[in-house]
Assembly symmetry: C2
Homo-oligomer: 179 residues x 2
């Protein structure tokens, strides 16, 4: 951030009175520009023992497989955002979606919120942001070609929870890989 | 938003190619300025059948009671943010905090994430943003003087879950009140 989005003058970094962190501040109109983590809302669509994955048609990670997910929009609930992404990316709707996991990714200031539910009528199609959409059993998942570490973790948790019939909500942190 | 925070030129609202929503866009440097919901991370600190509440020393809702909570910062996990707020506002630390609820508030584009845990050594103190910090049993909670609807809802859920010994994760939406 270089300029104040309110008045257009230059901003600079300082710790505002009563705060503990540096913020982008405008000296002209006194606006403090806070920057905060973003929420990604996503789904784990299921059909029996299979999950629905999308091959990404867009960067980053074009050509790699992911769960339907995207940035939560203003005015949406996390479930609404998750179901919208599922419709947009996979042409799919879920029956009785339930919260199944929160994944913090602090090094990129993101928080994923996932909802799980069975596909309605086993119906899905390829959305604008997908090259392919397909159902996979655990052993069929393209584990080496998943788009992001959080997707691997959410899928590992999903298949583990299916085996134990545990249906709680996962709470986990994705650590930055050093290599 | 009136000006581009990257180059300082005027922004205007348009639907970018491949998007479905209006965004603040800069015609000069082509930056698209997305605006997204913010996460508030909070705690439900417990001591036996009591919960720790803070009387707010700051606006909005100065003088009303709340759970320790605040905006998640970049680089934090939701649990780290919740525990930081608990320390800052109530001088309190929690033993083994566990995720206990996600509350969507779509009309103000906020998502609350709460962690519950017992106070370490029953120790707490009044932080800079609090006028008082106090433990309350269910019947002692100042229900009419709580700061925000989400706080009422989280406390109702907490006390209900204590009674049934249910310890799952709540997922709920706070609806805008019409009166």
């Amino acid at each position: 951030m270089n300029f104040c989005s309110h008045c257009g003058k230059s901003t600079y970094l300082k710790v505002p009175d009563g705060d503990h962190r540096e913020r982008h501040v405008c000296d002209h109109c006194n606006t403090i520009h806070y920057q905060n983590p973003r929420i990604i809302a996503g789904c784990i669509p299921t059909s029996g023992d299979r999950v629905l994955l999308c091959k990404r048609a867009i960067e980053p990670r074009r050509g790699y497989w992911t769960l339907p997910a995207g940035f939560l929009e203003n005015g949406e609930t996390t479930m609404e955002g998750a179901l919208r992404e599922c419709q947009e990316e996979a042409g799919a709707q879920l029956h009785n979606p339930l919260l199944c996991g929160i994944y913090d990714i602090p090094h990129i200031s993101q928080v994923y919120v996932f909802y799980r539910g069975p596909l309605i009528n086993d119906t899905f199609s390829v959305g604008d942001e997908s090259l392919e959409v397909e159902l996979f059993r655990k052993q069929e998942v393209p584990w080496e070609d998943l788009a992001f570490p959080v997707i691997s973790l959410a899928l590992e948790h999903h298949f583990a929870d299916c085996q134990t019939e545990l249906r709680g909500v996962r709470s986990s942190t994705v650590i930055k890989r050093l290599c």
